[in-house]
Point group: D2
């Protein structure tokens, strides 16, 4: 299999604690450390597209993500993304890209915190990406969702299927 | 989907440090903590079959595992297992069980250590189990292997395909 | 020796990550977990006075801390406190209390983060409190400082002696 | 103050998990990482004398420790040491060295485990070393003990005063 591409866009996943001012901020992606920690032997290429809170993600940011996914020669793409607007980005991607398997994932707790779900979600996304048919998906809470059938339940902090 | 069954058998995955004598030992499975950490929303049932080093796993132990997999009403079973004889157990399971998806997984570093690959492997196994066809597989290093096409490279500490 | 009293007032020390809104917040003190982690056999009583960012600590808050230290029957008191105004609180305490050993300490990184200095600082404060003469001190970075001879270097994120 | 010398001798403190054979082993001291984690600003020099389980410490090993303590120009020395024979080494040191403050400390859980007491004990030892008078001491469980008045309670896994 060709390599799996991972685009990092920021989100809670990559937040760190700035000890000089006591605020959360972005420094660099934790993906390399996580892949090492998981002893991944997959052929993976990581590229940071941006480092933003998904609530602050602009229309231009999303166009950039679409453009990068279109240009990408691998048919298998994972995007790490803030959870608050993950569904929105998935929707726009689905409108533009039909021939690739794209999975968006993230974390509820920053990886730099000891108690993060990030390593679990990455293991999950890297597994689903090897098998799922072309389409746009979200992987969280051990599950995968089609882009048009998922919402974030902000009260519970989980992703769930939309019951139509 | 019906629930996913997870059978715990011990292995490095569940080793803890006994501070009274300085040795590694088994106390109880860490699976519940990991599922919580990963914020899993999957319907999962955990059952501990034994707590042994896979190098000490006996023929009787393996018969017990086979029996439990046969009796299990769910068609999707994950077995956490020591890595040293994981391939051997997979082989025996494949001889007896044809109609279920069974994935064996484990860890190179105990979960109780901060730097374990266990959470990554669990996220991976729980994802593959939802999609793979009936058969016996091993999930490690972010990859899945058919039971008859894998070996542990003990020098490198990774699982790899057998090139015939 | 009589018990050592620890008053918790919040600060970075006790900050946690709220996964529902992605912000840092206070839930409860981590002191009990830290004492257990350090396998402390000291006779210690913990009491939470408030849970505030030290930049938001009011004059009333400080009066409450002074009052509690005055009322306290133990002669040995540790106060966990945000680092930004730790020196200010120490100064006011020194004006009102002369007959007790009071140590203020805190953390640059929340304890809930795996990489916190909180356990180190607590081990340090609990040790100094057993030996130092009555007075008000700050313990950070492995050192102890008299209240009138210390400042936080906000650029470096460390406490240092004032060279007069 | 002149620098504080830390001699590392191994013990549970520095044990790591060898993922290739599943056993605990020594690789290198974790002291530098701990000092960084604690944001220590103390003038400290670390030197590894040996990496042994204290149950395997030989008479020659102890002579080497004594020799190094005698040769050391700093009057303040911390020795990280396995807990099982820490009291024995303290006793021999006390017979040979009278003019220095020497503190032995260690850990019940390896530092590489997330749940270690090592960072707490190091913060404690580094604090006591700055104040205690010349003599040989053990620092564990947040307390300090004179060399001739302490024993390890192996049943409880704690150090305690000998009640004569």
């Amino acid at each position: 299999m060709k390599y799996i591409k991972i685009f990092s866009t920021g989100g809670t996943f990559d937040k760190e604690f700035n000890e000089l001012n006591g605020e959360l901020y972005f420094k660099k992606t934790q993906l390399h450390e996580l892949l090492k920690l998981g002893r991944s032997q997959l052929n993976v290429k990581v590229e940071t597209l941006m480092m933003v809170d998904s609530l602050n993600m602009t229309e231009d940011d999303r166009q950039h993500i679409i453009h990068k996914c279109q240009q990408e020669s691998s048919k298998r793409i994972i995007i790490t993304h803030g959870t608050d607007t993950m569904v929105e980005t998935a929707k726009i991607l689905a409108q533009h890209i039909k021939d690739k398997t794209i999975i968006l994932t993230g974390a509820m707790i920053p990886i730099k915190f000891g108690s993060s779900d990030g390593l679990f979600n990455l293991g999950s996304a890297l597994s689903f990406i090897q098998i799922l048919h072309p389409g746009v998906y979200i992987t969280m809470n051990g599950r995968y969702f089609n882009w048009d059938n998922v919402r974030k339940n902000k009260k519970l902090g989980i992703f769930e299927r939309i019951t139509k």
